[in-house]
């Protein structure tokens, strides 16, 4: 196998591992939404065991984020846990739209992309100011109730951990290489000239991506994730 293909393969394995961790969470969330007539914020406790189980490996945050009005007793709501300390911690943020501290999560790409496409998504890298304030990749899967979008099930991975997992293989490629997202934003590269978070404008990844992301010299898609190896 070519070294480039090995990098692509390794990214796909990491991505699939994260999405595999989310499968039981999605099952738990969708059955809760199915079984309970009027799901209230406190009922989200019931998916807590699956959420906490999803933490580990590269996953430092996981949970379910409800679409507006899915809960019977409040407009917004979620069950989200992080594993940045010695034991899992629950995330609390303001959910009152009228409050001074409220931040509307339905504008975040990790929410909108899965909602609008109905498919799983890897969002970022981005500064996750709602949760850990860290540079993050968020993996999301849409959850449904009666065939309708009911929010997302998601997992957070710190970009620095993703970098640790991939950097040795990128270094091994020898020449300049970067893993970027569909907007051409660098997730990790093997060059100081391509810093994390910068846009790699010369490769024009966004245009290539929206034209269907067909195999092309120097640009490879990693599985079905919006992650691209540029060499």
């Amino acid at each position: 196998m070519k070294r480039e293909d090995e990098v692509v393969e390794h990214v796909s394995v990491i991505v699939e591992d994260v999405f595999d961790r989310l499968k039981p969470v999605l099952v738990a969330v969708e059955s809760l939404l199915d079984e309970v007539d009027e799901v209230r914020a406190e009922d989200l406790d019931r998916v807590r065991p699956q959420v906490v189980d999803a933490l580990g490996g590269l996953v430092i945050g996981a949970g379910y984020v409800a679409a507006p009005h899915v809960l019977a007793d409040q407009e917004y709501g979620f069950e989200w846990w992080t594993a940045t300390g010695p034991k899992p911690e629950q995330l609390f943020i303001s959910l009152e739209p009228g409050s001074a501290n409220f931040l509307d999560y339905t504008r975040q790409s990790w929410f909108t992309v899965s909602r609008d496409t109905g498919r799983r998504h890897v969002n970022g890298p981005y500064v996750d100011y709602l949760c850990t304030d860290e540079y993050t990749l968020t993996f999301t899967v849409p959850a449904q109730r009666n065939g309708e979008f009911a929010g997302v099930v998601g997992a957070d991975v710190f970009v620095r951990e993703f970098e640790h997992a991939l950097q040795p293989r990128l270094r091994h490629l020898g020449s300049r290489a970067a893993l970027v997202n569909a907007q051409g934003r660098v997730i990790v590269s093997n060059s100081a000239r391509l810093p994390t978070g910068s846009l790699m404008r010369d490769a024009d990844v966004p245009a290539w991506w929206s034209a269907g992301a067909q195999a092309r010299a120097g640009v490879r898609r990693c599985g079905d994730a919006p992650i691209v190896l540029v060499t």
Partner: protein, 248 residues
């Protein structure tokens, strides 16, 4: 055990959560979800409901008492009771503005200038179309906050405008792709009870629009310059108002 000592031994997971509990209760009180004179559940019950340690709840209650939003009565029939502020605001910003000093204001302004200016320059370099779209939404929020609801209470309009201001600058820092600048932005927004963006400004929406367009056109120097001017004007406004408030 003294209070400081007991904090030392607070469960690690609870550090920083007192703020979250405080914020939740401030929200509930200022929005009237908790009624004036309503008795709060006991510390132990609150701790159970929030899923935090009792010491965390106690810390939050101290903060609420300091803001005059809760009073604690001892003895039989005692407990913590909600005090809804008469003007609907927790410790009004005019009060905080009277207490601040001009030298402190200038220093907060300088720090903010360094952080937000650098964030704007980097955002122009690094924003994707998605980032620019979020900046436009945040810009629009401010216009809506300023124009909508003329019948609304002034206080509610001021809060909505201040929130839109903070959201906009938070989005710029996030668009810069910098966790550290974002973190600093959040910290600075909280300085002196979020004073900087509280006094309303007639031009703020136009200024945000211009900053957003500079970022969209990848003009980092212009984005920085416009952001610095925007902040300097906010600081000048605060200084003027501070001096007005000192008049007998």
């Amino acid at each position: 055990m003294g209070q400081a000592r007991s904090h030392v031994f607070a469960p690690l997971g609870d550090l920083g959560r007192a703020e979250a509990v405080t914020a939740r209760l401030v929200d509930a009180i200022s929005m009237g979800l908790l009624a004036d004179r309503e008795q709060l559940p006991s510390e132990a019950e609150l701790a159970g409901q929030f899923g935090v340690a009792t010491v965390t709840v106690r810390e939050a209650l101290v903060a609420l008492r300091q803001q005059g939003l809760v009073e604690t009565r001892r003895g039989r029939g005692g407990g913590s009771f909600v005090i809804t502020p008469s003007d609907g605001s927790p410790a009004s910003w005019r009060q905080s503005l009277r207490e601040v000093s001009l030298s402190e204001l200038r220093d907060i302004g300088d720090h903010y200038l360094a952080v937000a200016g650098a964030a704007a320059r980097l955002a122009a370099e690094r924003s994707s179309p998605e980032d620019v779209e979020r900046l436009r939404l945040a810009t629009e929020d401010l216009r809506k906050a300023n124009t909508a609801g003329k019948g609304r209470e002034t206080r509610a309009r001021e809060l909505a405008a201040a929130r839109a201001e903070r959201q906009f600058h938070l989005e710029v820092a996030a668009a810069a792709q910098s966790p550290r600048l974002t973190h600093q932005e959040i910290q600075l927004q909280g300085e002196r009870g979020g004073l900087l963006w509280l006094p309303p400004s007639a031009n703020a929406h136009e200024e945000h629009r211009a900053i957003t367009e500079a970022i969209a056109h990848q003009d980092g120097e212009l984005a920085r310059k416009l952001t610095e001017e925007h902040i300097l004007q906010a600081v000048d406004r605060l200084a003027d108002m501070h001096l007005d408030l000192l008049e007998p």
